[in-house]
């Protein structure tokens, strides 16, 4: 009697929802990557760029969810950080480079 209503409320995950969960998880990891890239920002005057914890977050993405999904998470996260920070010109380069970084860290 006790746990019946709980079991009725918890429905098994449907097949069509699994892809949604995957994509949403990628977005969550990408968002955390963006936040970590944006919060700690040490400017480097020589290159006019900035140093951050984002690379570590990108490597974590690759290690956590594998190379293919990690590629998407790292690339989207870093590109969003560039978009919000106003570094327009670097968005495509960042997307490619950070995606590759996450892919390599996932395959290792």
């Amino acid at each position: 009697m006790g746990m019946d209503h709980v079991q009725r409320d918890i429905q098994p995950i449907q097949k069509e929802n699994i892809m949604k969960i995957n994509f949403a998880l990628i977005i969550v990891l990408a968002g955390i990557t963006t936040a970590l890239t944006m919060v700690v920002r040490i400017p480097i005057p020589a290159t006019e760029g900035y140093l951050n914890l984002g690379d570590m977050a990108v490597v974590f993405c690759g290690l956590l969810i594998g190379s293919r999904w990690g590629l998407l998470a790292g690339a989207i996260g870093s590109a969003t950080a560039d978009l919000i920070g106003g570094f327009f010109i670097f968005i495509p380069i960042t997307f490619f480079a950070k995606g590759l970084e996450a892919y390599i860290s996932g395959t290792l």
Binding site: N17, K20, I21, F23, A24, L25, I27, V28, L29, A30, G31, I32, T34, A35, L36, M38, V39, L53, M56, A57, F60, L64, I76, T80, L83, I84, G85, G86, F88, I89, I91, P92
Partner: protein, 229 residues
């Protein structure tokens, strides 16, 4: 033809004043942004952000104020160009044509920063993006998790400072100059040792936040947007 994000559709569905302003902004961006690559990237971003701007009266007011500010800035700036005084403390600009370019491109660059920084994070509520059918809920989730991640990061750093796993912020007035290298090295070592833990804790907290509760709410948002359409 019926693409909701096309420029023609945006211009047809907006009132007259924002329409003029949007055209002005687009033309300024196209003509005065110097790098061709950044023009290619900037145009779709501006089109997308105007799609968001025109929904809010406050933001049309901001754009209106920006255009008045641009005109006033030019009125002040033109004598300034020929006076020979420094335009910016960061760089010396001597040639007249360079000074003209700097003054004219300044409002465009300002709007550029405002569009991206303010519209996407602070002024616009992420819930406005829900109506974009497939991308909408994901965009809302992304913006929400960025906000959550920043808060979470600050909380984690405070906690780790209390646990002596992260260096305390240096009070510059109280320390001796001779102890700066030691403090710097100590801080560097502690940061290097614990940075991976900091990043890992953030990821763990985000996944814990998302998987039971975030997913339920996300699914609810998905269903709501389906019902509306």
């Amino acid at each position: 033809m019926n693409n909701p994000l096309s420029i023609r559709r945006i211009l047809e569905t907006t009132p007259a004043l924002p329409k003029l302003l949007i055209l002005f902004v687009l033309s300024v961006l196209i003509f005065f942004v110097m790098e061709p690559v950044s023009v290619l990237i900037a145009i779709p971003i501006v089109v997308l952000s105007t799609k968001i701007i025109v929904k809010k009266r406050f933001l049309t007011f901001v754009l209106f104020a920006w255009s008045i500010g641009t005109i006033l800035g030019l009125i002040v700036g033109i004598p300034w160009i020929y006076s020979g005084l420094p335009l910016t403390p960061h760089k010396t600009i001597n040639a007249i044509i360079d000074r003209w370019m700097y003054v004219i491109a300044l409002p465009a660059r300002f709007l550029d920063t405002v569009c991206v920084g303010i519209i996407f994070i602070n002024t616009t509520s992420p819930l406005q993006l829900i109506n974009w059918k497939v991308i909408g809920p994901y965009a809302v989730l992304l913006l929400r998790i960025v906000q959550y991640g920043q808060l979470e990061f600050e909380t984690t750093i405070t906690t780790m400072t209390i646990q002596h796993r992260w260096p305390e912020p240096i009070e510059w007035r109280r320390i001796r100059w001779s102890s700066i290298p030691q403090l710097f090295l100590h801080g560097l070592v502690v940061r290097l040792r614990n940075a991976s833990a900091l990043v890992g804790i953030n990821f763990r907290n985000a996944i814990l936040w998302f998987l039971p509760w975030g997913w339920i709410m996300f699914k609810e948002i998905f269903n709501q947007s389906k019902r509306r359409t």
